[in-house]
């Protein structure tokens, strides 16, 4: 990453006057851009303290056997110091291929990947379909748009709470299913139905953001392109395939990336829907939280190990995704 970035300005400068030395360049950059640094300083400080330090501390914890029993704490006036030991990479080995690692890690891993893929695909396709519908000249368009964005405005824990009442045995959903003669699964108790319920709720929560973003993207596609396509006799499908989709490429790449990151780390929906129950429907994030907070003794080291593994997965995914985007960009001119 750093290499690529440093390389870029160097290339553009080639052929002009010889480059000044590093120190001088920094000085020049400083005197020219001191206000830029002043503008980003608060963010850098806040994120450094609140995110950077915890990350370092979290990574350190993964190399120890820290639990709530051997971590330093304050009882009354007595301070009990840390007594955990450095164990090297033992936690990683244990999580990834220790005894029972399939049930502890890999089953949640597979489900997390499936959960992310299914949710993002649903978010995107439903969001795009609704955005296309809303982008037509249609009576009551503004009203529809408002109603469809509303789920975004309602706090997640409120909607999840509402879904819980609706999905409960004898709740509204099963009432409707029963009245048309369909089976009534135990949404909050049956493992497979739990997963379906979680995906449904998360889709409901996530579609409005996608819809609004894609609607914005659709509105920024120049109408001339559609007119030209029509002149050339393109069918609606061809116009969609060769005008709409390419026109949405930049918006799509951003919202899909954010969607993947947010869904992968979607804590609230699963945690609030099932609490500490439903071991099968826990994704890695909620599982890590349970290890660190939902049991006694709290296993800080294992929880942090999950966290670091999650973060690495996302970073790997993002770098591949960006590289893939860049290659696509080149291929498509």
């Amino acid at each position: 990453m750093a290499v690529a970035v440093q390389g870029a300005p160097g290339k553009s400068r080639r052929g002009r006057e010889p480059r000044p030395g590093l120190v001088q360049r920094l000085k020049l950059s400083y005197s020219k851009y001191w206000y830029a640094y002043a503008m980003i300083a608060p963010v850098v400080i806040v994120l450094g303290v609140l995110v950077g330090y915890p990350l370092v501390r979290g990574v350190y914890l993964t190399l120890t056997d820290a639990t709530s029993l051997n971590t330093g704490r304050q009882i009354g006036v007595n301070h009990i110091p840390d007594s955990f030991n450095f164990v090297g990479l033992h936690n990683y080995a244990d999580v990834l291929w220790g005894p029972g690692s399939y049930d502890r890690f890999w089953s949640h891993f597979v489900w997390t990947i499936a959960w992310t893929a299914i949710c993002v695909v649903l978010h995107y396709t439903i969001g795009l379909a609704l955005a296309l519908l809303l982008n037509q000249k249609l009576r009551g368009r503004g009203l529809y748009r408002m109603m469809l964005i509303l789920p975004w405005a309602v706090p997640t824990f409120v909607t999840v709470f509402s879904w819980r009442l609706m999905l409960a045995d004898g709740g509204a959903i099963n009432g409707i299913l029963g009245s048309v003669g369909l089976p009534e699964p135990g949404w909050l108790s049956d493992p497979l139905a739990q997963k379906a319920a979680a995906i449904t709720v998360n889709t409901w929560v996530g579609v409005p953001f996608m819809m609004v973003s894609l609607l914005g993207g659709l509105q920024s596609i120049p109408a001339e392109l559609y007119e030209a396509a029509e002149m050339d006799g393109a069918s609606p499908w061809q116009r969609f395939r060769y005008v709409t989709l390419p026109g949405l490429r930049t918006v799509s790449s951003t919202v899909v990336l954010l969607g993947v990151i947010w869904t992968f780390n979607q804590f609230a929906v699963i945690f609030l829907l099932f609490g500490n129950g439903a071991p099968d429907a826990q994704i890695l994030v909620t599982w890590a939280y349970r290890l660190g907070f939902g049991q006694m003794p709290r296993d800080y080291a294992q929880s942090a190990t999950y966290g670091v593994l999650l973060l690495s997965l996302l970073i790997v995914f993002t770098s591949f995704y960006r590289r893939w985007l860049a290659r696509n960009e080149q291929a498509n001119g």
């Binding site: 915890p54 789920p151 609706m166 966290g307």
Partner: protein
């Protein structure tokens, strides 16, 4: 919805960007397609609204088991839950706390995000790309890894149980996305405006404050909306970092209706509705800007 097109930056962003992709006039849509569109949108709207309406409906049932028999609520619907929550609980102090924290997060977060976004959008200082990349990576941190060390930091800074501490934590979580969004928005505002400001003798900060921020209002509205909602609805941080019950936010206070022995679902539903109302109000205020604000942000970043 002409409102979606009247964005200030539109004058600048090439004229075509401002014009929505209007329905092609020559080819008329068939009546069938129109009916189908309406049907699809009505269905989707019903699905979107149903959970919200449902919880409002449940909140009208006076007994704690009413949610199990929604049909029976109809006959005895009452607003008694609302009077109970408003009069006999700490609702108003929780509400005040939430307003302080969410409002503070909105102001602090948007200011931080705007200055960062502007710096990255306008100035090619060393490290600006790494900064954006870092911001993206901070979105990937799972809460589970952060919450314990954050607790230690806040406690050593004496910021536990304080509004400011919680505002800082929330700003830390909202700023990355807002900065991305606003950077994209600032990119659509032509640099010539900055240059004109500089020629007229404004400092870089003055240019930013007096010229660019007013032009970026739709983008700022979306960032504010996002920050407010995030802070308003957050549970995990608030319940960990706010220790005394008079500092609880609404989302935390809500949980006090369910204890091991007592499940007051009807009060929970009522409080949920009362929590959703201010969020819906904020949403109503900014919804005209949502599409334009997000477009520029997402389309250009």
């Amino acid at each position: 919805m002409t409102t979606t097109t009247e964005r200030p930056a539109a004058r600048s962003a090439a004229a075509h960007a401002a014009r929505p992709a209007k329905v092609r006039g020559r080819e008329q849509r068939s009546p069938l397609a129109t009916v189908l569109s309406h049907l699809a949108l009505i269905t989707a709207s019903l699905i979107a609204l149903f959970p919200v309406v449902y919880i409002a409906y449940i909140s009208l049932g006076p007994d704690d088991m009413d949610y199990l028999h929604p049909g029976q609520i109809l006959g005895k619907a009452t607003l008694s839950n609302y009077t109970t929550v408003l009069n006999d609980t700490d609702f108003f102090s929780w509400f005040g706390n939430s307003v302080i924290v969410a409002g503070g997060t909105t102001v602090v977060g948007v200011m931080l995000a705007a200055s960062t976004g502007y710096a990255v959008s306008r100035m090619r200082f060393a490290g600006h790309k790494q900064l954006m990349w870092t911001l993206l990576v901070t979105q990937m941190f799972p809460i589970a890894v952060l919450i314990v060390p954050m607790y230690y930091i806040l406690s050593s800074l004496q910021l536990l149980d304080s509004y400011f501490g919680l505002i800082l934590v929330y700003s830390g979580t909202t700023v990355p996305y807002c900065a991305w969004l606003l950077k994209g928005y600032f990119d659509t505002i032509p640099v010539e405006i900055d240059e004109a400001g500089r020629v007229d003798g404004l400092s870089p900060f003055g240019t930013f404050w007096r010229l660019i921020l007013p032009l970026a209002r739709p983008g700022l509205a979306v960032a504010a909306f996002y920050s407010f909602l995030t802070a308003w609805a957050e549970v995990a941080f608030a319940s960990t970092f706010m220790l005394s019950s008079d500092k609880y936010t609404l989302a935390v206070g809500l949980q006090s209706f369910i204890s091991e022995h007592d499940h007051q679902w009807q009060l929970m539903a009522t409080t949920s509705v009362l929590i959703a109302l201010p969020a819906a109000l904020v949403f109503y205020l900014v919804q005209r800007h949502l599409v334009t604000g997000l477009t520029a942000g997402a389309a250009k970043s």
